[in-house]
Amino acid sequence: MIIIAIPNIIQLKGLVSLVHETDVSCKIDYTDKEDQVTELFSKHHPSVVYIHSSFMHLLKSVDLDEHQVRVVRVINEKPPSLTEENTTFEILYMDDTESSVKRNIKRNIALSSKKDVSHPKENSLSDREKSVVREIALGRTNKEIADNLFISAHTVITHRKNITRKLGVKTVSGLTVYAILNKLIQMEEM
């Protein structure tokens, strides 16, 4: 998992799409809001973080060593002359060429200690997703599911997308069979 936090939305989305172009298998979450950065951290336990220099102070509250995160500091412009700066973190310059940005991404993904691919839990459902599967299997609509679980209909749709991606099961009947086989519902409830 990669997290990207940059306050400028155009730069943010630009970098997100470059990461996608570099490594399609990599999962990304991103934000342009300062107050969401630490939240994303605790939610995903990322292996690589691209974070804008103006957000760097937020990292003080995160135990980087414990998380084994590879932090890349995003800086708007390359300084005219290379000064001896803080070299604790990797750096990505926003005004760099496409190929060197991609090289930077590739290197950091490769060097990150935690690999997304081998993460066993990536494909198992979260508790919330399980309850959504349960609701789907009981034949409820998105609106009903949203009301029952106290979430927005939009969130229900996001959960459904993630469930389909994780399980490789798309249809309601397919999810129902899945729910029964995994004891998320009993046959008698149907």
Binding site: L167, G168, V169, T171, S173, G174, V177, Y178, L181
Partner: protein, 236 residues
Amino acid sequence: MADAIHFNYLLLPVINRLGVQLGFGDSSIEQICYDEQIDLDLFLVIINAFLDHDINKISQLQKVSIEKVITYLKATHQYYVEQLIPEVENRINALIQHSDIDQKQFLLVKNFFEEYKEEFYTHIQLEEKTIYPYVVDVYQSFQSGDLSKDLIQKIKSHPIDTYAKEHTDIESKLFDLKNILIKYLPKTKDSFLRNTVLRALFELENDLNDHSRIENMVLVPLIGDMEVSLMKKHLQ
């Protein structure tokens, strides 16, 4: 002809549907088509479309008469209904009878497939009773230049595009069923019978994909163009 089968055995039902049965000796495709009075162009285009998913190859079907393509598509339906679907059912039944674990769970698969079958048959009915006759009507009207009021009404209310989406749900269900068998049914001591079900499902999927490729890439655009030109003529 034999070389084609050795190249890809999944062609077996395809050549059957086109009217070729096994036991043809060393005859070439051309010879067999001549002997069996099969349209050689149709034969080659269908076989090539099946083997090579390239749109350019498939769109060569447009050269062949629409009626013949429809006859072929109907023959594929017949193959699904009379042979492939019953075969899947038999294999699922064998799986249920011979498995060492909770039968209830395998019954879920059976029910799921039943549901799929119902939907699939409804879809086939829709195609044979409504869509194909409509396609032939448009085609004939385009050829002859006679445009009936009834057909104008149909073109307006249900152009061919509206049918194009029909396939997706059928495909999704089949996809789900495969994953349930591969990933989510509990382990058994031996997977042999489960493999046989899956093999039949993969074959069905592969064949269906070919079927919908022909419909979506050949029939829909071709008839869509004819609809437009017929309506233009009508408005003049």
